[in-house]
């Protein structure tokens, strides 16, 4: 939720890079440990790491992996996927706010709404499909946003004279109700949150561009969208399309699979992996730098999905990121910065901050 001028798209604008740590789960994936992997991404100069929660045997909870990385890192944003359909919105909100605390304000949320009969059966609920998926996502995001605002920034007063730890007038009930046309089982969430306002005020919320737009999750509800196209050539057009559809208030992050020539093996020999549906770059580091520079001229950021985390990170950190920085295409990572800083977002006031005492909790 940002103002239009916060995302500029003029050519040459320095962007940011994220990398998906898929595979660096409980068993360390390609790395000896999750700690090693996330530190390698941070020292390579990535602005954000993302943690997939797609159900794969052996993969631990994405939000917990992000939390584990919090105290180990200083600059890199930590952005887990958290499902909105078969989770409790109140728990999701608290967990994400907590991630913001343990990472010093570097948390974000990729709100997912995957259609999954397996996930539905696991929690004994009906499978959700079609337009109802976006409704669930929109509801869950709105619950989180209200709860994050439900403590004003200065609600904890620790006023020794009056013996008050909090100022009750600065706590607010969220009083969320699912809309009348809600396709799934309707629900309500009372609030306030059980944790004070996140350090960033509001965590940046990301979602797949295909989930956002008219009749789906509203563009106002998200800070950035992840844009997918079948080939690298089609990505730039898709980015422009999404921008014109959603407006400039939403940051655009392009999705790219990456396979590089590495350790004497040509990318072509290594790229036999499975089809992800995302655009794929296979080739030299120099070629990738050119492609990323071109993409960053259109998008606010690019998220890379490496074929092998260890191999690609090695090439990316030695050859690609330094080259992009040299060309001025990459923003410098901010020591102790927030994820909002990465996205160029200011810290918003709580939506309840101006409300009179009459609407404060309990009145």
């Amino acid at each position: 939720m940002s103002t239009p001028e916060e995302h500029t798209t003029e050519a040459g604008h320095a962007g940011f890079l994220a990398i998906e740590l898929d595979g660096a789960g409980w068993d360390g994936g390609d790395f000896a440990s999750l700690a090693e992997a996330v530190l390698a991404a941070e020292s390579a100069g990535f602005h954000a790491v993302t943690f997939t929660d797609a159900p794969v045997a052996g993969r631990t909870n994405a939000l917990q992996r992000a939390a584990y990385a919090g105290p180990l890192t200083r600059t890199i944003a930590l952005v887990p996927e958290v499902d909105t359909v078969h989770t409790e919105p109140f728990h999701v909100s608290t967990q994400l706010a907590s991630l913001d605390y343990v990472s010093g304000g570097r948390a974000g949320w990729i709100a997912t709404a995957a259609e999954s009969p397996e996930a539905a059966a696991a929690v004994g609920r009906r499978n959700v499909t079609g337009a109802a998926l976006a409704q669930e996502a929109a509801a869950s995001i709105e619950v989180s946003r209200r709860l994050w605002d439900s403590w004003e920034d200065d609600a904890v007063i620790r006023d020794v004279a009056t013996g008050r730890y909090i100022d009750v007038d600065k706590l607010h009930y969220a009083d969320y109700e699912t809309p009348a046309d809600f396709a799934g089982a309707g629900y309500s969430v009372k609030g306030p949150s059980i944790i004070p306002r996140p350090l960033q005020g509001q965590l940046p919320v990301l979602a797949a561009a295909s989930l956002v737009g008219e009749g789906q999750v509203s563009a106002d509800a998200v800070d950035a969208v992840l844009v997918t196209a079948p080939t690298a050539e089609l990505l730039a057009a898709e980015i422009r399309d999404v921008r014109s559809r959603l407006g400039v208030s939403v940051a655009v992050i392009a999705e790219l699979d990456v396979v590089l020539d590495a350790r004497g093996l040509a990318a072509a020999e290594r790229s036999a992996g499975s089809e992800s549906g995302r655009a794929r770059y296979a080739g030299t580091a120099a070629g990738l730098a050119d492609l990323l520079q071109a993409l960053l001229a259109e998008a606010d950021g690019v998220r890379l999905h490496p074929a092998s985390l260890a191999l690609e990170l090695d090439e990316l950190s030695r050859l690609v990121l330094p080259e992009l920085r040299r060309r001025g295409a990459l923003r410098a990572p901010l020591l102790d910065g927030t994820f909002r800083d990465v996205l160029g977002l200011t810290r918003p006031a709580s939506r309840y901050a101006d409300s009179s005492a009459a609407t404060a909790a309990g009145n």
């Binding site: 919090g70 059966a121 730890y165």
Partner: protein, 458 residues
């Protein structure tokens, strides 16, 4: 006796040893926030400092509590006490990266979670921490808390443990579903009164097989549930005689449940106020209490039972002469009484306070002291006292709530722990790297078939 035979024996055998846990409550009236040295209750650095101090003191476990709705007082969020805390498992996953041996215990509710989701997240924490996770099972079930969740207030209080048991059995089946460390995982199906679960678990066993189970809940049903399901009970009975009594009770319940007399360990909630000498400790206690129960807290304590505002009453004057109104928000603070019972209670309290010449503040202090879980004294005297608990096996350890964050464990780790080590009743090193190792618990041996059988028997 070997560990194996000790756990299965039908005679209780004290280990002669104590373990410490730290309970970072996060939300309570016991943590002093008014002192100069009181730190943040939410900053990560406070948590890091406490857990690392605990680990330096070879504590077995670091606990986080849980409350899924903000406490209220007379229909509004309660303003006087420490409030607002991070999600337990998220914080523990972060703390796993800055610790190596201490157990990480998440208090998590069985009423407002889904078994498959919670089981997955707990094994996730167990894998991320390399075998140090535990679940403190609580059953808080009121509709007022339910207002924050999809299901709302669906559960009758009387059903809380029946539901919890089906929940925990389902979680255990999920954890048992990997035949070997490599798999494959078996599908787990549970069709219960409140939940249907149909899941193919995704996570393998951890270094300690599965998370350790703690239980906190003191009713007879709660104790029987612990005797059947838990590894450790987080009890509310730290005083010596009560602790001995509780041990007897739990041993009987464990044998009844078909488990050994030593199968369930006991760690009561407790508080320590220590100093080099008894006099200094007593003075310190007075200071601690004056900050825990200030004038506003004393009045608020009565308001909770009176069900109305009493701010016009002088905390240093007599108890209010007006009568309580029907308390409609009692569940919002856990205690409190309804209607006629409140009036009777008020009469009783007024008589008692008048009799003893106590002001509101003095009366409330004396009342809360009755439920006092505090050990006060010199380091060596308290160490002697605790050694006696170890000798008779009254408890297996103590779950300590520090009254100051983040420096509240310093005294205990710097002074009490060495005294206990000298007396041979406290570990001098971590026995292993998992919580199960450090508590001396057996690794569960249960096949997926046995687990399925246990559920059918419910």
């Amino acid at each position: 006796m070997t560990q194996q035979s000790r756990a299965q024996s039908d005679v209780f055998v004290p280990t002669g040893q104590l373990q410490f846990g730290v309970f970072f409550q996060g939300v309570n009236s016991g943590t002093i926030w008014k002192a100069a040295e009181s730190g943040s209750q939410t900053d990560f650095e406070s948590f890091r400092r406490i857990v690392q101090t605990a680990e330096r003191g070879l504590f077995a476990a670091f606990f986080l509590g849980e409350g899924l709705r903000l406490r209220e007082h007379l229909g509004r969020p309660h303003a006087l006490d420490v409030v607002g805390r991070p999600d337990a498992q998220t914080m523990l996953a972060a703390l796993a990266s800055v610790t190596t041996n201490i157990g990480l215990v998440a208090t998590q509710n069985t009423t407002y979670n889904d078994p498959a989701d919670l089981a997955h997240r707990l094994s996730s924490l167990d894998l991320i921490s390399r075998g140090r996770a535990a679940w403190n099972i609580v059953t808080t079930d009121n509709a007022w808390t339910g207002a924050n969740f999809r299901r709302g207030g669906y559960l009758d209080h009387a059903d809380r443990y029946r539901h919890a048991e089906a929940f925990v059995e389902t979680a255990k089946r999920i954890w048992d579903s990997w035949e070997t460390a490599e798999g494959p995982a078996r599908n787990v199906l549970h069709e219960g009164q409140h939940y249907t679960v149909d899941v193919t678990p995704r996570l393998p066993r951890s270094a300690q097989y599965r998370p350790v189970l703690f239980q906190a809940g003191d009713s007879p049903e709660g104790r029987d549930f612990a005797a059947r399901q838990a590894d450790v009970i987080f009890s509310a009975h730290p005083k010596f005689d009560a602790a001995v009594e509780f041990r007897k009770d739990l041993v009987a319940r464990s044998l009844n449940a078909g488990r050994g007399a030593n199968a369930v360990q006991i760690m009561p909630a407790s508080e320590f106020i220590l100093a080099p000498t008894a006099d200094e400790a007593a003075a310190k206690k007075e200071w601690v209490r004056s900050l825990q129960i200030g004038p506003q807290q004393a009045v608020a304590y009565l308001e909770q039972f009176w069900g109305r505002e009493l701010s016009e009453y002088d905390p240093d004057g007599p108890l209010p002469e007006i009568d309580p109104v029907v308390e409609e928000t009692s569940e919002t603070r856990g205690s409190g009484f309804h209607g006629a019972k409140a009036r009777q209670l008020a009469d009783q309290w007024r008589a008692e306070a008048k009799d003893k010449g106590l002001s509101i503040r003095q009366f409330v202090t004396s009342r809360t002291a009755r439920m006092d879980a505090t050990f006060t004294g010199s380091y060596s005297a308290v160490a002697d006292q605790l050694a006696e608990y170890a000798r008779v096996g009254a408890v297996d350890g103590f779950n300590i709530s520090p009254w100051l964050i983040p420096s509240g464990l310093d005294d205990i780790v710097n002074h009490l722990v060495p005294e206990l080590q000298e007396r041979g009743v406290y570990p001098t090193e971590y026995r292993g790297s998992t919580l199960r190792d450090n508590l001396g618990l057996e690794t569960p041996v249960r096949t997926a078939d046995e687990a399925a059988e246990a559920v059918r028997a419910l």
